[in-house]
Subunit: 671 residues, 2 copies
């Protein structure tokens, strides 16, 4: 409270006389410093603590609007226990929104409540009825023509000479309460300030199945690059597996200076294609395509074909340059120069990345650099790319991302940003808070029951759930997790089902379905990594997981409980190698129960505990669980039920709970 | 983010280029919406999450100042795990303070760190040393004359032609790091905005033992009112018990209209004195004293005598009026009028309080009313009363208190306000947030181990500990708790020790020491309550707890661990009727262990668990616990130790833990 504000308060500013006190409006991220994240169509459930001195009754509403508009819409809040008021609203457009609450003393309701208590106590009420008449007459003055006359007549009647009991009955009538409530006196209402911002994105910001693909590996041999046309031809394969997003590593020209050879060795041979992340060559930089992949027109055709098949292309945004990038020549001021005038390559001492120059985001020419980088994203958005997977955002300034994402969204509100920040938790959170739609996570390294339960619970609850949306990748070109290296097919199935049912967004990097599990020694790096060489694959291999993946993705689409990260609950099971959890819609009209055997080597069985009372099932009421993966249907009853998972045949089961509709003769029907 | 701000950001405002990100500065109440509470001399321990992109090292300081001043003082923060930085500062004056943090990239430390890693890897460092020379030369330009020349020479040496190893040794020297760190480049520092407010009060706002006394009961008989002079004569009795504050119920003239008789009956007799809370009569209102008590000069003498004895007088601020209060005649606009022109009395339907008129804080003349009420408090502050116990603040608007407390404190910063809000938790919290120094609590109704543990833990931890300070009263004129009605002397001792050692402020209403336990049936109201009649007492009764109270208050004064509400920890004991807890100073130089038998009827014994490792004691190391109440000294060892509490002799034991200083021949010394 500094100078001016304090003085105004000393001077008894008009607002001081507002009696209602509103606190702790939620959801809110850091008290409203950053937006809450939601997707279009979501209902935002709102709570606030609302108080008043004394015994008066209150009324309260949530006010909400797209932030670019001026008129508030409103919806009533209901009072719950402990002075918490609850309500909500639906966000129906992709843009920034905001909300607040307003509350006021409901003079008429307070009077009505007192009247009813005094009446019950048999007190004399002449004066009280006159007070009520005044309140109703005042409401009449605020009312429209339709209600005004009726309210005036009612006020007269309350003050009239009918017997007290008759007038009390009128005063307490539900219709009077309803009509007066339409015309409240909100002149002394309290509004929570400032409003809480809500960032509303399209559904794909939260829910989607991703498939990562190197188009250059789709050629006829390890020596010949695949093209955008080959990628277009492969879209059918990806669509058949039920994915939503096809994510391509950088598609730009690749530098030749200090190019890395196979398995990341220094000194590439003449035919080594180099890392796609060493962006830029004589042919161009971040807005050019690699000539081996085709032309920009070929790329446009790929994007169009993807849309035709219900897929979207996601591009990789990696703001770094090979030594051959045109910017190195045209804008040396954007790079850090060594005292000898050469440009520094990227380092993480003592490691050196000789094929990459980092950009200097705080160089004196930062404004032109930032604009150029924004324009790179606008260039691809203009070509109908509306999903960006951003490489290593944690090595660029947080404020750059806040600015750049806002800039892109102001023109293309439907752009989704995935943060590839495998870094410390608070940096991941900060990037999410400034605008990234979703984030890679530590899922890749969470394997045990305890690790998975703790981590996923943290993600699914406030505060994290309100600003960071997970995307659970089972593998990436940089990460072949240890469990896949040693666990064989059961581990692949287990991790797939976990990722697909624990997070609304999940991803697979190609080769996963072919059970690729060869790593460099003591490393999570793939042997003969696709990052440095072409790797054509035989998609049709009989041991492929493609059909299982298709089944899992179909289950995800069919079951709304899996479209959100809310409604997740880990449930008890008496075996430490079995993980059991429920995913539910708020209305409980879709209940999915998942049990996973985390041990790829041994059969495990045990008793799971189903919280039947929370699902509206009585203790003696049988219910059906339908294994959507294996097809089996089981009749369960009560809380404790038996499960048995043999990793060789079914490392994971995904049940849909079906209630019995009616029993008729000897047939049971379940919905 | 609205209009202007958003446009500025689009325009790439200079602040965008700041790379450091500061979040979640704490302590903070509701993210800084309300002040954190501390007392003068406290060290405010500060934490913030501080991040930067990439691998650079950071430096950070906490900035702090009295809010009325302009120059920040600063102290370094240290980096801890998980990007949390910690530090603190001491508040050394009674007034509003504020703090924030500022952090910046430490270019030299980052460079030095990289250099050391590259040097260890045996890399060629010519270019790196030139970079370092530039950084040191830049520091020289920021330095004062004393450091400038030395830095310039060092820069020249780093860029010179000495062997690389020699120059690296210079570059990595501790003295260079220290001198450069004196002259940081903070031009791109990030500061957390806005600063967090801290309300700094005097120690009595947190720590004090209160004694409540009706002066009118100090007369020679139940028919003759005691006076301020009698009260002055009684101060020795109170001081001998070791109390700090003597709190007087309202001392003003009492109304005659609808005066309540003994035991709160309607229709007082001519000699019934009435409730002191029915304030105001022909003799005057809130700034007058009851003629039976004496004169204002007598009151002044009482205040002076109290100060002389190391006591303070606290007055009751009860903003309500008897029907005979001068305001009712002079300012009818301050009261709610009924349609017939009469003034409403206070009600909580169907209950009626005919001897009291509530003030209408939102009447159209609210400004003159609020100023008058403020002036009442200023009147008594002017007469050297600097503690107010505020009656039922939750029935007056929250914003009134925020304004009025700020007004009083702006003139008398040392005024302490105790909130008598026995109401819903969020209202109690709101009153604390807007300025009450301390609050009555639910302690009176928390009896079992679970109840006490849960409630006191909630009070002792953030968020509550940062804005609400408890005052644990064992009884009040309104509350004779059930446990005292049925538990006899052991219950009185148990509750006294709990209150005095679980909260830094606690209070006793007179008669407690005399074990008064007679209530109205099915009620917590005292029979023949002093609220409605005079109750002279025999202070010298042999069964009085006065000596025990004196001992408890002496223990409180002697042990700094009991001066604060921090450093409280409930500890395990294998008996559900025994409560065991530790109170410690931050430096652990004062460790108090308390064990209380919550069952007034039976002996209980059990094994307590002492967290010796947290107190710096080895598993085999004996230590002494000295029962400061009973006088016994026990030699304990290890975590598990035996206790036995017979309610007839020692319902509670208060140990001071004494470490063994040294062992010499056969003598052990403990400090």
């Amino acid at each position: 409270m500094n100078g001016a504000g304090a003085r105004l308060e000393r001077d008894l500013a008009p607002g001081l006389v507002r009696r209602v006190w509103v606190e702790h409006l939620r959801p809110a991220v850091d008290g409203g410093r950053h937006p809450v994240k939601r997707v279009v169509g979501d209902r935002v459930e709102v709570e606030a603590d609302i108080l008043v001195d004394g015994h008066d009754l209150l009324a309260a509403v949530v006010l909400y609007r797209p932030a670019a508009t001026t008129d508030w819409r409103e919806a009533a809040l209901e009072r719950g226990a402990n002075d918490v008021w609850r309500g909500g609203f639906t966000v129906d457009s992709v843009e920034p929104w905001e909300f607040t609450v307003e509350a006021w003393v409901d003079e008429f309701a307070s009077w009505r409540d007192e009247l009813s208590k005094k009446h019950a106590a048999g007190q004399e009420l002449a004066s009280e009825l006159l007070e009520g008449a005044e309140l109703v007459a005042a409401a009449a003055e605020r009312a429209d023509a339709r209600d005004r006359d009726w309210l005036r007549r009612t006020a007269d009647a309350l003050a009239g000479d009918a017997p007290q009991d008759a007038r009390v009955a009128d005063a307490l009538s539900a219709v009077l309460a309803e009509v007066v409530a339409r015309w409240p006196d909100r002149s002394l209402a309290t509004r929570f300030e400032p409003p809480i911002p809500v960032d509303v994105e399209r559904e794909r910001a939260r829910f989607g199945a991703w498939y990562e693909l190197f188009p250059r590996s789709l050629g006829p041999s390890p020596e010949v690059s695949g093209t955008f046309r080959d990628a277009a031809d492969t879209l059918g394969y990806v669509a058949d597996m039920g994915f939503d997003v096809v994510y391509l590593p950088p598609i730009h020209p690749i530098g030749r200076t200090n190019r890395k050879g196979a398995n990341n060795v220094l000194g590439a041979g003449p035919n080594d294609p180099g890392s796609p992340w060493a962006i830029g060559a004589a042919e161009g930089g971040h807005t050019a395509v690699h000539p081996d992949l085709g032309t920009l027109e070929d790329f446009d055709a790929l994007v169009a074909e993807a849309r035709r098949r219900g897929l979207e292309i996601a591009l990789d945004i990696a703001f770094q340059c090979s030594p051959d990038h045109p910017w190195v020549r045209d804008h040396p001021e954007w790079f850090r120069q060594r005292p000898d005038g050469t440009i520094k390559y990227a380092e993480n001492p003592p490691k050196k990345y000789q094929d990459i120059h980092a950009l200097d985001f705080t160089c004196s020419a930062w404004r032109s650099l930032w604009r150029e980088l924004r324009d790179v994203m606008l260039f691809w958005a203009e070509r109908e790319v509306r999903i960006f997977r951003v490489d290593n955002p944690h090595t660029k300034p947080i404020r750059f991302w806040r600015w750049a994402i806002a800039e892109v969204r102001s023109r293309y509100p439907d752009v989704v940003f995935l943060s590839e920040a495998f870094t410390r938790p608070k940096m991941m959170h900060a990037l999410a808070k400034v605008g990234f739609s979703q984030s890679y996570t530590y899922f890749t390294w969470r394997n045990t029951k305890r690790e998975l339960t703790d981590y996923v619970t943290e993600l699914a609850r406030p505060p994290v759930r309100d600003f960071m949306r997970p995307n659970f990748f089972v593998n990436t070109p940089d990460i072949l997790p240890e469990v896949l290296q040693i666990g064989g097919r059961p581990a692949f199935v287990c991790r797939l089902v976990l990722a697909a049912t624990l997070a609304a967004s999940y991803g697979v990097y190609s080769g996963f379905e072919l059970l690729e599990d060869e790593a460099l020694p003591n490393s999570e790096e793939y042997r003969d990594s696709e990052k440095y060489q072409l790797r054509p694959r035989d998609w049709g291999r009989p041991d492929s997981l493609r059909e299982l993946i298709a089944a899992v993705n179909a289950i995800r689409r069919d079951n709304p409980a899996l479209h959100s990260n809310d409604g997740l609950r880990f449930l008890p099971v008496d075996n430490g190698q079995l993980l059991f959890y429920a995913r539910t819609t708020p209305e409980l009209d879709n209940v999915i129960l998942v049990v996973v055997n985390l041990d790829p080597h041994h059969l495990h069985h045990g008793f799971v505990e189903v919280p039947i009372e929370d699902f509206g099932l009585g203790p003696g009421e049988p219910y059906q669980v339908h294994d959507l993966l294996g097809g089996g249907r089981y009749l369960w009853q009560g809380r404790r039920n038996y499960v048995r998972l043999d990793p060789a045949s079914s490392p994971a089961q995904v049940y849909r709970l079906r209630r019995r509709l009616r029993t008729e003769r000897n047939f049971d029907y379940f919905m």
